[in-house]
Amino acid sequence: MGELTNPMVSQDGIPVWRHVGTTPVTANAMERQQVVVVGGGPVGLTLALDLGRRGIPVTVVNRLDFVAAGSKAICFSKRTLDIWHRLGVGEAMVAKGVAWSCGKVFWGDSSEPIFGFDLESVKQQRMPGFINLQQYYVEDILLQALESMPLVRIRWGHEVTGVEPDDEGVSVRVKTTNGEEYDLETDWLVACDGGRSPVRTMLGLDFQGRVFEDNFLIADIRIKNERPSERWFWFDPPFNPGQSALYHRQPDNVWRLDFQLGWDIDREASVRPENVEPLIRAMLGDEVEFEPEWYSVYTFQCRRMERFVHGRVIFAGDSAHLVSPFGARGCNGGVADADNLGWKLEQVLRGLAKAALLESYNTEAVATAEENIRNSSRSTDFMTPKTPAAAALRDAVLELARDHEFCRPFVNSGRLSTAVAYPATPLSTPDRPGEIWDSPIAPGTAALDAPTDQGFLLDLLGNSFALLVNGDVQCVSADISIIRLHEVGDPEGLVRQRYDLRPGSAYLIRPDQYVAARWREPTAAGVSAAMSRGLGVD
């Protein structure tokens, strides 16, 4: 991995991190595929890696023939790291990333924060609360893992120019950067092709939502001075009056500075160094020594497709939903889609589940997108009040938050991404009425990590259905791996505590490490029925 100082720029003006080159069109390029993933970003590559590890061949069709640089996703949640760890790349991400969980909030002229926070409320888990890592490193780590996986082929510089779905599959027209054209057929096509999704456009599908009339300047800069790895957020600071600002550390001493600019601005002038650099110095102090990496201006929208599953074409990531960057819910939301879809597609391709299981992807991924859009819209409304009364309320919150703890939970500088629960998913078997569980890890909730004598619990859960049991259970299907608490050990009692796993109790956990069901008195028939339900069988 190289260092980015003066990035090359592609013909379309996209900064290049690493050139790969166009994949030649071979004689078997037109062979029918089981899964074609359109787009080689973090979402498409995560899905390809998950499917490849499950033994499903995947062809990734990537319009670009390079890994892009520039200012893209940087902040990855514990849930995303847990997913990547399941896929064997979590440790590489953490090793390169900057772990953080603390932040500070500033308001107005004062150089003292009004308060600080720590997002990592539950300690003793394998993965940190968050890491910051440039998207090009994320993609490079995923690509490196895919190199040793012959089942996954990436076609660089191949652009999808036509899609024709029918009941059995999808016909895809592809054009390479060399101008060659060919057609291929696939059983399933997953569009991970970004917010302006060409696949979505070609199919004429909806993308409804809210446009926020605001511009934000991102300055990714390399700083020589040492600073703490914390997320700092300013409301109405003297260096950007009436607006907000944010900074965040990335690897290689690169810092992301984000300045709200307002709506009526000259976007081209805003990114000129003579306009950006005074802002940087006003934020960080005149003595700061820095080199620019990339300056850009962005606007954002909160939008989503009504449905993410359209017959044989499935949408994941930005192609299906867009949010503001505050809260790191874009890329993390997309990785959650890939995680939710991978095992379901495998089950359907192996004939172990019907297409109904994919309908649950639609239900659950839409629920995730709705929660992300709701949080993202609320953050934006807090940062940019729409009326004088809303502004007075917002300022009163910030004013009281300094001295009164009760007001701090109202302060919204972005609600950072966590695993979304699906309380209404059809795949869950609800708790029996009257059963009391002193644990929030209810059916439809992501499993929580905890240490055991054999390593962290999430590692033991693996990639298939698992039954976590305190005691034993008779005659369970061979498709379920059984984790007996007395065998794996619970040295600090945290598994028992976090899951309220009293003797005799059991949790059935899905291949994406979401809880499907739990029992105080599990039976083989009950587990079997919950597993069928978890596979979308009525």
Partner: protein
């Protein structure tokens, strides 16, 4: 109805006077801010989300009071 809309304050005139006095010497913007601070303090003291939501609904549509 979770939100108590029956008389509940022992000395209403004293409290009303204190409320009006809060605005003394403040311009409109400062009054709006003081109102906001007061709402936040009282809302947190009440805490019960059913009461708070009912109160917000009643405040938004006083004809329903």
């Amino acid at each position: 109805m979770a939100c108590n809309t029956k008389p509940n304050i022992a000395s209403p005139d004293d409290f009303y006077a204190a409320l009006v006095q809060m605005y003394d010497g403040l311009d409109d913007a400062a009054c709006m801010r003081a109102n906001a601070r007061l709402i936040l303090l009282l809302a947190n003291h009440v805490g019960d989300e059913r009461v708070l939501r009912e109160a917000v609904d009643l405040a938004a549509r006083p004809e329903n009071c």
